[in-house]
Point group: D2
Amino acid sequence: MPDQYIPRREDKFSFGLWTVGNRGRDPFGDAVRDPLPPNDAVALLAEVGAWGVNLHDNDLVPIDATASERDAIVKGFIAACRRHGIVVPMATVNLFYDPVFRDGAFTANDSRIRAYALQKTMRAMDLGAELGAKIFVLWGGREGTETDACRRPDEAIKRLRDAVNQLCEYSIDRRYGFKFALEAKPNEPRGDIYMATTGAYLGFIQTVDHPELVGVNPEVAHEQMAGLNVLHAVAQAWEAGKLFHIDLNDQLPGRYDQDYRFGSANVKAAFWLVKFLEDVGYDGPRHFDAHAYRTEDVEGVKDFARGCMRTYLILRDRATQWNADREIQALLAELNGDGREGARPPTSPDALLAATFDRVGLAKRGLAYERLDQLTMEVLLGVR
Amino acid sequence: MPDQYIPRREDKFSFGLWTVGNRGRDPFGDAVRDPLPPNDAVALLAEVGAWGVNLHDNDLVPIDATASERDAIVKGFIAACRRHGIVVPMATVNLFYDPVFRDGAFTANDSRIRAYALQKTMRAMDLGAELGAKIFVLWGGREGTETDACRRPDEAIKRLRDAVNQLCEYSIDRRYGFKFALEAKPNEPRGDIYMATTGAYLGFIQTVDHPELVGVNPEVAHEQMAGLNVLHAVAQAWEAGKLFHIDLNDQLPGRYDQDYRFGSANVKAAFWLVKFLEDVGYDGPRHFDAHAYRTEDVEGVKDFARGCMRTYLILRDRATQWNADREIQALLAELNGDGREGARPPTSPDALLAATFDRVGLAKRGLAYERLDQLTMEVLLGVR
Amino acid sequence: MPDQYIPRREDKFSFGLWTVGNRGRDPFGDAVRDPLPPNDAVALLAEVGAWGVNLHDNDLVPIDATASERDAIVKGFIAACRRHGIVVPMATVNLFYDPVFRDGAFTANDSRIRAYALQKTMRAMDLGAELGAKIFVLWGGREGTETDACRRPDEAIKRLRDAVNQLCEYSIDRRYGFKFALEAKPNEPRGDIYMATTGAYLGFIQTVDHPELVGVNPEVAHEQMAGLNVLHAVAQAWEAGKLFHIDLNDQLPGRYDQDYRFGSANVKAAFWLVKFLEDVGYDGPRHFDAHAYRTEDVEGVKDFARGCMRTYLILRDRATQWNADREIQALLAELNGDGREGARPPTSPDALLAATFDRVGLAKRGLAYERLDQLTMEVLLGVR
Amino acid sequence: MPDQYIPRREDKFSFGLWTVGNRGRDPFGDAVRDPLPPNDAVALLAEVGAWGVNLHDNDLVPIDATASERDAIVKGFIAACRRHGIVVPMATVNLFYDPVFRDGAFTANDSRIRAYALQKTMRAMDLGAELGAKIFVLWGGREGTETDACRRPDEAIKRLRDAVNQLCEYSIDRRYGFKFALEAKPNEPRGDIYMATTGAYLGFIQTVDHPELVGVNPEVAHEQMAGLNVLHAVAQAWEAGKLFHIDLNDQLPGRYDQDYRFGSANVKAAFWLVKFLEDVGYDGPRHFDAHAYRTEDVEGVKDFARGCMRTYLILRDRATQWNADREIQALLAELNGDGREGARPPTSPDALLAATFDRVGLAKRGLAYERLDQLTMEVLLGVR
């Protein structure tokens, strides 16, 4: 019954233009695939069953396009999206490719570069709004250092805050209604990127003028590059009401940015993440920020895109199964002490100080986590 | 002229009882050094020139001491501190050694363990207050997972928040005046620890009832374990007004917790950190949370402690030299555009949108960071 | 049909005494489980379905046992093994726990420690031979440094070679017939361990007096700690005829030594490894060098041990399925050019230099690795 | 007295054409510097004081050059080298940039690609020989996988061996007299690269037909990417007589390939490495395989190149100072037991088995490594 793993619109699967359009260039090698024009990418996404497409400004409009060129391109793209039934849930801005941003955009030392970065972002917001996007992602890939001699990091944070504040004002002023989703990454392409983790952005957001407009866009690979548990980062964002978007892909820890097909490197981590998103009722886009191996032609790109969605759906199915597994649920109920205690522990300070606890006894109880984890693996591997 | 590197009281160098008292036990080997009684540790710290001593409750008072035993021990310790002129700037609680906490303290599934952890922490606060500490560190070393089957991570965050809220109330109620400093760590002893980075805690703090009482205690090794730039984490904490304490030590990325002598693994990172703390005027304790190699006897422990402080002072000296270096300062002035621009970039949205920028020209300017970094290395290596 | 995943003797599953006997001590916490006497460990292993037990000398015989105590213990252990039908395929020596080895055993600077380490190993070989072991593992966990000031690393290699040569001579002299399996690890408990990877040992082996007696014991976690692909290390060892033993467990990269249940962290890597061992016909022990989480009691230890074996058997089954999958095999046949070429490429230098190749054409062919990997994931997840 | 840090010919400092010619392209951004024609690169290297230049075939000769174009280019390059007094100690082949090699060269599944890779390498050997190079480096940057579904890794090793054997024959046949230096890397640009560490190549070399012609080219960054101690890898290669070349640069562990200026990331590791090379009398090229930050213009490229050499010379100076430091030498003499023992430990098996050792006493002796390491840091920082 493979039909259950065919993507549907309500699954909200989206891909960036840059993902299926990735040409396989890397630090040691040239492009291996021909350019995929944006409108063709939309057609490809429709063919494989995606719901949405996301883009950086320059994925669609060249950086040096004239206004009329830009308008013609946008018009054609909107038509392509309509024709193929593809929506644009999120837009973003490319502040990393052009050499002008080689030492940062919002945090660059040169105030003219900072101003240009703001202008470029405002125009990308115009574009995103025109395409109907309600989420605007900011990834500051060049905001960082190879040597901390270049500026004080607290100065960089102030500059970043100024930029976010101005962009919030602009969204309000233009009534764009954007939610900003800030995306962290520890390093690459900079030696160190400021705001290295989703957590760092959760702290930063509280210091901007309009925190209600600003959330995060955790990326699986970006947390895993630093060896961090992406589920924990996503859960903190969700619990704080800040999970505005998510980037799904895969990655082994302690390496260059691999952007692998979702679930293909650490399928157990992917399982926990899918389970969490489904359990809490996250209803935003499931965006795949990944790309096909460099060994692939355009058919391989489709295989890649189909694989991302298919694995998500398999894991969603496994999560449902996990939730329904009686042995697993019995172990969890036992762990959480259902029906165990006659009296709840005291909560007033004085009562708490006066209470006695059987420290040694509590320490002796086996928690059956090996059993629980093995059952999880068996659900995952399809042998239960 | 080595005298300039002798520690003085105003340098505020502190060590935990557990640091000089570390016995060299590790996962594959037994203790190699005899126990160092707390009062002897105080004497040792005075001998090597430290200013303060910090402690977990059970570094001083055994977990199963009676009230009268506890009082006798504390009395003796206060006398030893007075005798040796050592202060107690910070206290903390051990929620990780005893088997009862093997699956967490504040976030344990068993509500009795959570209650016991709170009680134990309140008593540790009593102890800290009695010793004169004004900073209370919380490191949740066991708050984490080996398998995420055991609980939902957002539930763990709620439990952690409840605990911090109760402890803030207790500090207010007892008029202890504590500042709480939360210490992050990515993993070890748990597979993954919740609140993996300083950034995660900066986000968390905004969600507690008394955020003004709560800050962070970044540890060099804990950020570096995850390959993160510790300066960036510390700077974010400082800029947010949340740098309540700091743990200085050293560590290579992607490894077990090494807790090396400050500056001995990545001296360049240590240099930037010392320079930042001195430049911004951080006036809290410089706490060394490290320990001697397992190859050392008690004389080696003293060498270790002296080395931490001495390296800090050497780096402080180098930072002063860096700030005074005319070539470095000229490069920085050039970078920051001193006197360059006749007109500042526009800040109003419409003016900004209308502005034109010489993108290609701005991209061509060399930033001389290789020169700046090489000069930094030469200051550091003492050849300028 | 769960029966297919019940371990059988011919599966050659073995565990170290130290694995099921692990008491859960870690750098931040005390033991959580009672000691498991060796003979009880043998009974436990028989109960869960294992075939063999391995041991360090001191797992069975205390370091300070008298000769008669030793003999009594060994006699009892042999009886227990016979009673439970458990064999001892491998023995090894503990050169890491006792403080005397805190700066190395065979590579220590003190020649008396080196001599003692040799003596201890020879006695462990006597013990292993008495128990019927034919494989002797050497893991030099303390052979390393925290500071390279202590000795020249090439000197350490010479000392290590001397030791291996003497032990080979001893095995020959006593007609023990041991195959030595050298086990690499990058770090922990030392800052850096000499012979950091299986590859390093494959190089080293060629420099000893009796290379035919010496091979390697790759450990999954030890390669993965350094972020290396364990399959590639094992395959190199196998191809060189040096895969004398293997340690199965699991681990996330860039962390402390986790020694997780086999297949529980990176199940895809575990799948490739099982598939390789089965495809090439490796017929040595499948040794699980892992331990139960610290949250477990003795029932959890059994769950852990059963889980290791069960996951191996599930993965073996999946490997068979992968090999039989027609779509996968068709893709592989296509990749390997079955029936493609009329003429094979030239091999003589002059013919090769004169040949012409369609570089551009060869670069355009899609290799369908995304499809192949997605099919692999679907075999693994049990949806094909 | 800065003159002591000016490079001289006898220092044998070399750079690849690709290092000073690096244009700053990365996965997220375009080139930032203009192309540097090879002959201009030679002039630049002469200007900054280098001794040698190395190259891949296509650094000099475009991949699609005709024979006559190739000859004209080579003639001009030889003239430029003569004019500027620059030698070509090493040559290599680019088997990674062109899309034809996207799934490997010598290990590709397609036999035509393997044949083409051999042909290209033979021509690169012709070129190297013509330029006077005596060392030929092989870096198999594309020999690896993103999914191990694509081929068995032992098959890849066999293919690699075939290639190396054929190239050795070719060198012998043409009387080129090359020493082959194999360069390992763990990952990037492939998910995993076969022969991940220098150790793996040391094992592999013993299995080729002409092991005497084949050695290794350890690269600092490549070992450090995997968190390994590069000194230990280099020392093993040296001790085995296989250190045929070395690539000096810098890198933080667990990241993308940073190729930083030598000594700028982990100066302590760089110090130990320089000290080792100088202490053992390594007399091959000191090759810097690194590149300038992307923030730099051509002046910054010169700063980068000068910095590499200058830091090497500073560290060489510090190594001399370390060797002459009386306190350090006294500690080492004590450690190595100079004059300590009346009798050496026994070496015959029976005498060794009969000997008694004071295990507890030997364990009590402090080794003063903290002191030794702190003195090292103070030598390094220039305060002794």
